[in-house]
């Protein structure tokens, strides 16, 4: 059974003109998100993860950015909607939660009232009814004593509770797609797991799609079905968790995987990726990763590689031949394991 495509991003470009030059935050990006799946997006800071999703929600000011391409949400191009049409989608069918729950709730309003407001801006109903619904939602995201907590201010909540409240706020209208932009980065490790679990529970219960943006590969491996690796505003590699984690094909993905500690092979050396992310104003010619790539060859700085299936079973954007990729990854794995023993 083919799953419904919720979101399809086609050749998206988001450029910001600045005094220093054109910042190419997103530069030709393609991906799809299906209903019922958790779609992970990973990449370093500045790789365009957040900008992509803020663009989808219309939270990037169109006057300050040059946006081209398509963002089809349930078949409708979000980039063609006017601001009022977009507002009606936002928070209703398409909801988003953010990185820092400490800063994301208004400090002067009661948490409950902020939920009520979210309910009433898309649906007319008596305030009392909205308040009851908000209380139920607080309970359903695991906030104890929701009736009392409804009347509390954000600063009386712990970080984890605030993120729960944010999730409750995102769920008020049963959205089809939930975008979680680094939802756990600002939280304690123990709380992180609870929040991720909650997002998973919500996904199954409401049968929605989730985009999980993070630089925590462990979280992605845990909960996502598919993952997109982004580098400098473009896709580097995309596939199922098994494909990308077990047989990665892009040197950047290799670098990412080698730079996280693994419990199963204790003592494995962590190998950082040399260099730093490129400037988004003067991107390297050709593949943006080539200056940091130990396997680069002539072709790499000539032309931008498209992200496509090059015989490895899932789309990626590297000019190396499939045989080379498999060989190099096997060698790198072997070297790492050897160093561990």
């Amino acid at each position: 059974m083919a799953q419904e495509v919720l979101l399809e991003v086609k050749d998206l470009h988001v450029h910001f003109p600045t005094a220093d030059g054109l910042v190419k935050a997103v530069d030709g990006l393609n991906f799809k998100v299906l209903r019922g799946e958790t779609f992970g997006i990973v990449g370093e800071s500045g790789s365009g993860k957040s900008v992509t999703n803020l663009t989808a929600l219309g939270l990037i000011k169109r006057e300050t950015a040059q946006i081209s391409g398509e963002i089809l949400f349930k078949g409708q191009d979000l980039l063609k909607l006017n601001s009022e049409e977009l507002r009606k989608v936002r928070g209703k069918e398409l909801a988003m939660i953010f990185q820092d729950p400490f800063a994301c709730l208004h400090p002067f309003y009661r948490v409950g009232d902020q939920l009520v407001e979210a309910i009433l801006c898309h649906e007319k109903m008596p305030k009392k009814q909205a308040a009851e619904r908000a209380t139920d939602l607080l309970a359903s995201v695991g906030i104890p004593h929701p009736k009392e907590r409804f009347r509390d201010y954000p600063h009386q909540y712990s970080g984890g509770m605030r993120q729960r409240a944010m999730i409750a706020m995102a769920l008020v209208h049963n959205p089809d797609l939930l975008i979680a932009d680094e939802p756990t980065t600002a939280l304690d490790v123990t709380v992180q797991a609870q929040i991720i679990e909650l997002i998973e529970k919500v996904k199954t219960e409401f049968n929605i799609g989730v985009i999980l943006i993070t630089h925590d590969l462990g979280v992605i491996a845990d909960v996502a079905q598919r993952v997109l690796v982004m580098y400098a505003g473009r896709g580097a590699e995309m596939g199922t968790i098994d494909e990308v984690f077990k047989s990665p094909l892009h040197p950047y993905t290799w670098g990412l995987l080698e730079s996280i500690p693994r419990v199963d092979s204790k003592g494995t050396r962590l190998v950082p990726i040399e260099g730093s992310p490129p400037s988004l104003i003067n991107k390297p010619a050709g593949c943006a990763f080539h200056p940091r790539c130990p396997h680069r060859f002539e072709k790499c700085d000539k032309e931008i590689p498209a992200m496509q299936d090059r015989g490895g079973g899932h789309p990626e954007a590297c000019y190396l031949s499939i045989e080379d990729k498999k060989r190099i990854w096997a060698e790198r794995e072997a070297r790492r394991t050897k160093a561990a023993s």
């Binding site: 929600l57 939270l59 601001s83 507002r87 009606k88 989608v89 936002r90 928070g91 209703k92 909801a95 988003m96 953010f98 820092d100 800063a103 994301c104 709730l105 208004h106 400090p107 002067f108 309003y109 407001e117 979210a118 801006c121 898309h122 201010y153 600063h155 009386q156 944010m166 706020m169 995102a170 008020v172």
Partner: protein, 327 residues
Amino acid sequence: MFQYIVRRLIWAVIMTLLVISTVFVIFFVLPGGSGRNIEGAGKCSSPIAIMMAGRNPRPALVCNIVKRLGLDKPVYVQYGRYVGNLLQGDMGYSYHSSEPVRDAIFRRLPATASLAIGASFIWLVFGVAIGIVSALRRRSFMDRASMFFALVGVSLPTFFLGLVLVFLFDGRLNIYNVASYQPITSDPVAWLKSMWLPWIVLAYVSMAVYARMVRGNLLEVMGEDYIRTARAKGLREKSVTRHALRSALTPVVTMYGLDLGILLGGAVITESIFNIPGIGSLAVDAISNQDLPTILGTTLFAGVFVIIANLVVDIAYASLDPRVRYS
């Protein structure tokens, strides 16, 4: 909340006592005096008494005054007496007019209050409105024009602007008459006619400050994460602006309260330029007459107004910002 208010109240009382003590020390223990000395007055020789006694006084008169004012008593006794009298509402008598200082101040309070309340109302309304419009229409002609207007306002001293406007409206255009102050109770129309120019002069500088502050605050708040959240949940732009204003205008409450408190203690320059018989001009006159009880009274009065304003602002702030209330 109750505890918070009680704590603030206690602080206010302590602050008032500190103000009284400081004023007392400055004016009674370290008097500038006239520098004259009366031969034969002996230990009666007190600069205050000598000054009060007039030209070439007899030593006996000076001694009399010293005794009457208790200046021969130890400092702490004088202090106790002063505070004791103060608690009964007695601020002493003017050396100059022999009028009770309390009466002089209260007689002049309506003029100062007219000036302060009227001017602060104007600058609050216009300053905040200009700031909001400038921030929401950032980089528009309106924004640039009003920020230029504000820059001029911030840079112009009151005494300069006041004198220029008096020269213009009174001297040239003849549509305003300096020294025409009428109490609102005797003739409201004349009162209004006499107050509009001082209001504008006093309001302009603060209006500029407020407009710039509101604009800056609002622009900053508009970049906050919770404003993005408000948009992300689909609020209309109107509600998003309301969220932003709630945060951006809270500091204005603080500033307004303090400014009003300071002004109620007398707007010295504006009152002097426009000949408004307020507390500010009373204080200036008292200083030139070396009228110590009046100086003491007006200073104390101004100080107490600032303390009251602080108290009100603290309580208002707590009711506006829940984070203050619970910490």
